[in-house]
Symmetry: C2
Subunit: 381 residues, 2 copies
Amino acid sequence: MQNFSFHNPVRIEFGKDKEQNIGEYMADFGAKKALILYGSERVKNNGLYDVVIKSLSQKGIEFTAVGGIKSNPVLSKVNEAIKVAKEFGADSVLAVGGGSVLDSAKAVAAGACYDGDVWDFFTGKQPTKALKIFDIITLAATGSEMNKGGVVTNENTKQKYAIDAPCLYPKVSIINPKLQATVTPEYLVYSASDVIAHSIEAYFTATSHCDLVKMQVEANIKSIIKTTEILLANPNDYDARAEFAWAATMALNGLTHVGVGGFNFPNHMIEHAMSAVVDCAHGAGLSVLMPAWMKWYKNRNLEQFERFAREIFGLKTADEGIEALKAWFEKINTHTNLKQVNIEGEVLEETIKVAVQNAKDWGMSELYTKEAITEIFNLAK
Amino acid sequence: MQNFSFHNPVRIEFGKDKEQNIGEYMADFGAKKALILYGSERVKNNGLYDVVIKSLSQKGIEFTAVGGIKSNPVLSKVNEAIKVAKEFGADSVLAVGGGSVLDSAKAVAAGACYDGDVWDFFTGKQPTKALKIFDIITLAATGSEMNKGGVVTNENTKQKYAIDAPCLYPKVSIINPKLQATVTPEYLVYSASDVIAHSIEAYFTATSHCDLVKMQVEANIKSIIKTTEILLANPNDYDARAEFAWAATMALNGLTHVGVGGFNFPNHMIEHAMSAVVDCAHGAGLSVLMPAWMKWYKNRNLEQFERFAREIFGLKTADEGIEALKAWFEKINTHTNLKQVNIEGEVLEETIKVAVQNAKDWGMSELYTKEAITEIFNLAK
């Protein structure tokens, strides 16, 4: 077990009706002027937006809003919102939506306290100051509600990169599973794929690892598999929705990375190229990629792949475990080959090119050469 | 899954040599005048105390110290230390030792900011202000390093009660497994028993529970069982020591209680009477009590006891699981009957009397009547 520091100061408010108290939670941290960020107009049509502004008004919190943030959120939108935040004099950002909205909010929070180009923070510079971040998370997937990272795509350069700094931990994250009950089956299975990807990256790539952390990762994966199936059959099963949401949060709040040596995020690194090029759902890209990457990588850590097969699926060999995961992805109806996400021919060539650049920028180009990335994509055809 | 709030702001600094930076960590939080608390003179003899004061001095942090805190820490000592803290004008308390030292430090931190009797905080009043708390934890057991509670015994009234408030979260806790390598086998197994007790209380008594949380509890227990056996054979196995320490921390940092309805701590409630009366090690009292309580309680939650048997020991029935736990306690050489902790005859009568009072004060007297408690003790003979 390696030395580590762990400090996750996010306050989680989990459960039914918690969004009604958002004004109170923000007032606890002295928020007075909030920029509300959201995605589609759905949050206005379903009443959530009204609940939010009523609660803010009750606590005397002024607000303005920027909507229209889309999946695979883009830098231009972040810049638009930074401008609004600065003009409004916001002291806080409230994300109402899924991981894309919250990730954008993190970038906006840092950018609003910075005179330069916010993209600097995605390419090496570390933000040290940010507006206070709050969120009501309506899609369980990214884990952004309990971590300090966010991902945004620079449309011009096709770079889908991350911002990551302690000042970007949300102050309070509201997770109300009921607000997540209207997620479509399509996005539910993409979310399941995303959480599994968060779970397996360090699990397979770490150079050292303790059994307790491995068991915690396995618990998250088993929980996601079980609750996804329940929710596909009955989207209104509250307990399953709640467990799914909590597993998503637990998968990327830092606890599954404590004491873990030398791990990295190869599936994310390569998938970011896919969704940057074809704008596919991140989870769909990941379910295409993971089984392929696993086949390619397995002999580097065979024992761990056998453990995965045994603990998750009750099987024996690494290959059986990989096939079982792919079969499960097929069963729940997420994508498992490149054609399904429109990556073929010239588009594939471009995706490989972007992935190769990602590998360089993420410091992973020694193992992930052009040949290696091509081989992985070939296994995903 | 019930609604919950989760907010654990403790910063964990885990690993080799971390204690050398204690001055820096305390300076991060503006500490200038520290009261150091410790137990036996061992920390002076083994050099740890010198490392600590050197680090504080390097950061210009003034200090004074109170030693002599013992296992099952007592109120008189806490009061002595509060007086010293007030006279010195301490802004922080640094616990160097095990759970008893840290629990005392929490009481001292609250008492030093209060004009009344600190025992008020153990009997209903909630502290809202405390000195900054830091610790170097030299025994993994209580989980106090990542929670907001502490337990102290009032020698006059034989009440072993808890203080618990958000202001009592440590700012930084240092967990260096190497500092825990000199723990005797005796205290190692008591610690194992304590962690298992923390794990099972909500696991068995909760009225609602999600599978993910259950799996996390089971992971902690499996980890403790495995690493205890490794450490009994080889006390210097660093990875096992580290995993044991982290499992102890994870078992009582709040994560295994999220969304869990209506649970309580019957084993702790009754054992506190035992160690208040005969001053036995808390973990020894718990290993005597747990199998007895489990036999008495099992039919109230049979399915969960069967799950315990299956998941922890690969067995089938509730009774098999309980017997396996008892057999494991015997195997590792902790106590499993009342005689071994000198609770017999009149002493048993007195212990029952104190436990009955505890049940009242803890709000658990409906189920834990004098008859029930007597029956549980009879099963522990």
